[in-house]
């Protein structure tokens, strides 16, 4: 068993740069509490794990099937409010409320799917955009239950310590991403869903003509997307300690889309990369701002440093507006790297063998298995 694992590692991971990066990345995440354990960065990585689940669930639902959902916050918010309300009024513990919240999100996914079956393109996006906002209106109206803009504070943590929370969220993220990756793997011999999702996106009528019940698979996509987005929402509620209306607003829906498109749509790993780059950017913007400010103060006040000070002041202002930076990045990525940064990098460092379809490092002359020339 161990020997097979080692052999797999030696011949399946080491020669492919993308897999090496993935392994190193996960090793780093799992060892991070041991290496540093700084509470601020721990907190940041807890949230990045949770949002990675959220982003990848959007990729599975919208990237793969082409049903562009602009109201993904609905599932996140439904789960967050379910677990919050169950705790507030019944006093149930997270071990009970999180599974129930996830079920509620799956129900929301299935319910959203029925009207969505009739529409496509921009009409579908507008329809899904409306759902979380409708729920937001209800949340604001029933303020004695939901606390409206104050939210539901004081939710219990899912673990005794921050390290515990960190590992629970990280393991949940790893498991979710693995499951969604296997579920959408178009080359898999065991699961056909990946192939069928691709078929639905490319040509739904043709897929139906080959005997695929596309409605069933769309329902499945919405249910699975709702499941994982709900898991993220419930975990977020308990690690953040408060359920607030920000879990339902437009920003939350668009964030998922932005993360996935930045990293690479229809790839699963793209969503993870997008979250792990962009979320720290926003999360740490205050610290970066302080850093620039300190550098500016440290400069000697002579004429030669004036342009440098101007640049630092500009950077300082910019760091204070992370959403401005984010929006500019989104536009640049969509215009110049529409396949997403992770896929773009992967295409640079990996090449598929034209004969045996095995992935090789881009700098190899011939295929590592069959020896065919790669150029």
């Amino acid at each position: 068993m161990l020997r097979r694992l080692l052999k797999n590692f030696r011949y399946g991971v080491i020669p492919v740069p993308g897999r090496v990066i993935a392994v190193v990345f996960f090793l780093f995440l799992y060892l991070f509490p041991v290496i540093s354990g700084h509470p601020l960065y721990m907190r940041m990585f807890i949230f990045t794990s949770i949002f990675a689940i959220f982003a990848v669930s959007w990729d599975l639902l919208s990237g793969y099937t082409g049903l562009v959902n602009f109201g993904h916050a609905l599932f996140f918010g439904v789960a967050a409010y379910t677990t919050g309300l169950l705790y507030k009024f019944l006093g149930w513990q997270p071990s009970v409320t999180i599974p129930l919240a996830v079920l509620a999100a799956v129900a929301a996914g299935v319910l959203t799917c029925f009207p969505a079956l009739k529409l496509r393109g921009p009409y579908l996006s507008l329809l899904t955009l409306a759902f979380p906002l409708m729920l937001l209106g209800l949340v604001m109206f029933f303020r004695e239950y939901t606390g409206a803009e104050y939210g539901i504070p004081g939710l219990p943590s899912i673990a005794g310590s921050q390290t515990g929370e960190y590992y629970i969220c990280l393991i949940a993220m790893t498991a979710s991403v693995l499951i969604m990756w296997k579920l959408t793997d178009a080359g898999s011999r065991y699961v056909r869903t990946g192939l069928i999702f691709h078929a639905i996106r490319e040509d739904e009528i043709a897929a139906r003509a080959t005997g695929i019940n596309t409605i069933r698979y769309k329902l499945l996509a919405f249910a699975v997307g709702g499941f994982f987005a709900g898991l993220a929402g419930a975990l977020y509620a308990h690690t953040h300690g408060i359920v607030s209306i920000s879990s339902l607003n437009l920003t939350m829906s668009f964030q998922a889309v932005i993360w996935v498109i930045f990293g690479g749509i229809v790839s699963i790993y793209g969503g993870v990369v997008g979250v792990y780059i962009l979320y720290p950017l926003v999360f740490l913007s205050r610290r970066v701002e302080a850093l620039f400010s300190a550098m500016q103060k440290a400069l000697p006040n002579v004429a030669a440093t004036v342009p440098l000070a101007k640049i630092l002041e500009f950077l300082h202002e910019l760091a204070g507006r992370p959403y401005l930076v984010l929006a500019v990045i989104v536009i640049l990525i969509l215009l110049f790297m529409p396949e997403g940064i992770a896929v773009w990098i992967r295409n640079k460092i990996e090449r598929e063998c034209p004969r045996c379809k095995l992935t090789n490092a881009a700098w190899r002359r011939e295929c590592r298995a069959c020896g065919a020339s790669l150029h």
């Binding site: 009739k118 496509r120 009409y123 409708m134 303020r143 498109i261 929006a327 989104v330």
Partner: protein, 298 residues
């Protein structure tokens, strides 16, 4: 009471109407769902504020200030279309994302330049008039007049001029319009200019009647989307009728919310309006007067 409802309906309905016409025009012609539409409205409101405030030291007269703002915002719209929207026009998800990003940029830049607080602008024209025993601020009449002129102007451009014929031809079939010697990309850019100029006009005449803030683009965006979906995406007649329906709803709920909903009524208002949009989308996706293209049907 009824008089106030009528005035409010006409004013807010009129402003929504020219916002919705612009939104619908660019969707109908270029199939671009421009979520940054009301960001241009916000830019115009702030432009008016900037040009009319004594802070700048310009203190322009009202009329040139309005014209400058509308022209600049229209040009900005054309620039945004040319640089970022046109390259991704075929992918509707990318268009939605890029336009929302544009709106975020506009908001952030306004916060950066002006701060996030709410501001008020003085009425563009002072004084009031009495009509049928009601006192109406001249500003309301100006808003109504400008809206009416803008609607008539757009209608004339679209139906009588060569440009209007070209725009309608491109909306019907881009390829055939190209074969007839129409430069589709230029027509689309001009259409975007007209659409954003309309949003700018709405911003200029609405700014004195409300408080302005960098985040003011989001609520009217929702309303405009509901208006054009009820009226039918791509239909100008539908946009006008939908806008006055929504104007009536908002007038009734602002002035006297139904007793049942008093209190949290404003929040449920949004839920109900969006629910109406969802029902229209499910039952009749083309809205009251819109047309669906063959490839968008299921």
């Amino acid at each position: 009471m009824i008089g106030r409802i009528i005035v409010h309906t006409l004013v807010s309905g009129g402003v929504f109407a020219i916002l919705a016409i612009g939104f619908s025009l660019i969707f109908g012609v270029a199939r671009v769902l421009n979520l940054a539409h009301t960001a241009f409205f916000t830019l115009a409101a702030f432009g008016t504020f900037y040009l009319l405030s004594s802070v700048v030291g310009l203190e322009l007269a009202v009329a040139p200030a309005i014209i400058i703002v509308v022209i600049i915002v229209g040009l900005l719209g054309m620039l945004a279309y040319k640089l970022v929207i046109n390259p991704v026009r075929e992918h509707h998800a990318a268009v939605l994302l890029i336009t929302i990003a544009l709106a975020m940029i506009a908001e952030q830049v306004l916060v950066w330049r002006f701060g996030g607080q709410h501001r008020t602008i003085r009425f563009l024209v002072p004084g009031t008039v009495d009509i049928f025993g009601m006192t109406i601020a001249n500003q309301n009449l100006l808003t109504l007049g400008v809206v009416a002129v803008a609607i008539v102007a757009v209608w004339l451009i679209l139906s009588k001029t060569k440009l209007g014929i070209a725009i309608r031809a491109v909306a019907n079939d881009t390829e055939i319009a190209g074969l007839m010697g129409i430069s589709a990309s230029r027509v689309l850019m001009i259409t975007m200019g007209i659409a954003t100029a309309l949003a700018a006009i709405a911003g200029v005449v609405m700014a004195p009647l409300t408080t302005i803030a960098p985040g003011m683009w989001a609520p009217p965006l929702m309303t405009v989307m509901v208006v054009v979906i009820i009226g039918g995406l791509g239909s100008i007649k539908g946009s006008i009728i939908g806008a006055f329906i929504l104007g009536l709803v908002s007038a009734v709920s602002v002035i006297d919310p139904l007793a049942l909903l008093r209190g949290g009524g404003a929040y449920l208002n949004m839920t109900f309006i969006l629910a109406a949009m969802v029902i229209v989308l499910i039952v009749r996706p083309s809205g009251l007067f819109g047309t669906l293209f063959e490839e968008e049907k299921l």
